[in-house]
């Protein structure tokens, strides 16, 4: 059993974007804050901190989750991918290009989370229909684009994969 008192810190070891990271954290530290503050990976954005906006989405052991709804101590032993690791993924650079070409972003605040969700999504749905894409995007709030460009961008990447 693992036990960490609130006054203590726990040394966690995670693999972030292919690099082994070992750091000590207090139990109440959110994974999103750990990624941004302790690891300096500020590409992961924090919008609402209660699971509504999706800006903080990262991949934990391959699945897209909201990092503001996990504690860093829970990621001990996990493999994490953030937007900074996107370029290492097969669909990463094509997604970045397609988002840019299709105007899938404006201010870019929501974009890192959406890219990470899209990455997992394309992994399991190589050839999705618009309805599936919309369903996946519904976990994210974008206040700029109106989502149209993103849908187009994701179609574009999936067509390339055909």
């Amino acid at each position: 059993m693992t036990k960490v008192l609130w006054t203590q810190q726990m040394i966690i070891s995670t693999n972030i974007n292919g690099k082994l990271v070992e750091k000590s954290v207090e139990p109440r530290k959110l994974l999103s804050d750990f990624i941004r503050e302790d690891c300096g990976l500020t590409g992961t954005h924090v919008g609402c901190e209660h699971g509504v906006c999706g800006a903080c989405t990262v991949l934990v052991d391959g699945t897209a989750v909201r990092s503001c709804l996990m504690f860093a101590v829970q990621a001990d032993g996990a493999e994490i991918k953030t937007v900074e690791g996107l370029k290492q993924e097969k669909n990463g650079p094509p997604l970045q290009d397609a988002f840019s070409e299709c105007h899938g972003l404006q201010c870019g605040f929501c974009t890192p989370g959406i890219l990470m969700s899209s990455l997992e999504f394309l992994e399991t749905n190589p050839n999705p229909c618009t309805k599936d894409i919309t369903e996946m995007l519904s976990g994210h709030l974008c206040r700029c684009t109106g989502y149209k460009g993103m849908i187009e961008a994701i179609h574009k990447v999936s067509n390339k994969n055909l």
Binding site: V65, C68, L69, F71, S117, M136
Partner: protein
């Protein structure tokens, strides 16, 4: 919005988790998927002394068919339920209902047991499992017991589970799984909390007469409402506009929905009647179709 401090425990087995619950009782809170609970912590609506993280309990992560039941471990992720071929084959209504829970990104983390004990009156799983006549296994250091979901929910976010207890399994009886099923929900935006949700199971005979039906409604009272008397009105009959109307009226007869920012009481009651009608019609249609293809 940062949570207050807490002691963190990560038990490696159910027994260890039960020992912790025994020791910390009210001060110790179980942390499963955390998709409802961590927002509550972040907003400091709850500041427990200790958190007992049961995410690592692999022994509670399973979906299996056994002794005439579909058994689901409490920390099974909702997305696993949604994608399970076994669930799709045996209890398709669960797959349909799960697709309405939050978003893919929260279902990847949210657990089945967590949703049941959180007992939000408009949540999809409590409602659907109640319709399915499911029961749950509850363990503590001293005993293991079973509870039928019909007695389990007490009021908003409150169940009969005691602070020293852990819900370990959900069991869905498969003996008389209905051919017709439907899940209907209305929310402001897809993925938001349901204003009203309805789950319905229905069977018909060869000529299309209803032989059995179960239906529950969420969002119109402090707990999901199982409409037994109302559904009895359908037995031995074929669907008609006036019958559906009567059933709808009867289901919401004693309901006491909230009046809040999202919808007024009258709106919720009216919405419930509309969704009840839709759910029964859809379940009926599927039951007739399944009967034909058999």
């Amino acid at each position: 919005m940062k949570p207050a401090t807490f002691d963190y425990y990560r038990p490696d087995s159910v027994v260890e988790a039960l020992q912790l619950l025994e020791e910390y009782g009210d001060e110790g809170k179980l942390l499963a998927g955390g998709q409802s609970f961590i927002p509550i912590l972040n907003m400091r609506m709850s500041e427990p002394e200790s958190l007992i993280d049961i995410n690592h309990l692999k022994e509670l992560d399973y979906i299996k068919e056994e002794d005439g039941y579909l058994k689901i471990g409490a920390v099974t992720r909702q997305s696993k339920l949604e994608k399970s071929p076994l669930v799709k084959k045996l209890v398709p209504i669960l797959v349909e209902a799960t697709s309405f829970i939050g978003h893919i990104q929260t279902r990847n983390r949210g657990t089945v047991g967590g949703s049941v004990v959180h007992a939000d009156p408009s949540a999809e799983l409590p409602l659907t499992l109640l319709t399915l006549d499911a029961k749950v296994t509850i363990k503590s250091m001293d005993e293991e017991r079973e509870a039928n979901l019909r007695d389990f929910f007490i009021t908003y976010l409150t169940t009969e589970i005691m602070p020293s207890e852990l819900l370990t399994e959900i069991q869905i009886p498969l003996q008389h799984m209905s051919n017709g099923y439907a899940f209907e929900e209305f929310s402001r935006r897809h993925g938001d909390f349901a204003l009203v949700a309805v789950a319905c199971l229905l069977d018909v005979d060869e000529v299309g007469t209803v032989t059995s039906g179960r239906l529950a409604v969420g969002g119109i009272d402090a707990v999901p409402v199982l409409a037994e008397d109302a559904m009895d009105l359908l037995i031995g009959k074929k669907l008609s506009e006036s019958l559906l109307q009567t059933v709808g009226e009867k289901v919401v007869e004693d309901a006491e929905p909230d009046d809040d920012l999202h919808a007024s009481k009258e709106y919720r009651l009216n919405l419930a009647k509309v969704l009840i009608k839709r759910a029964i019609q859809k379940a009926y249609g599927r039951a007739v179709k399944r009967g034909d293809s058999l």
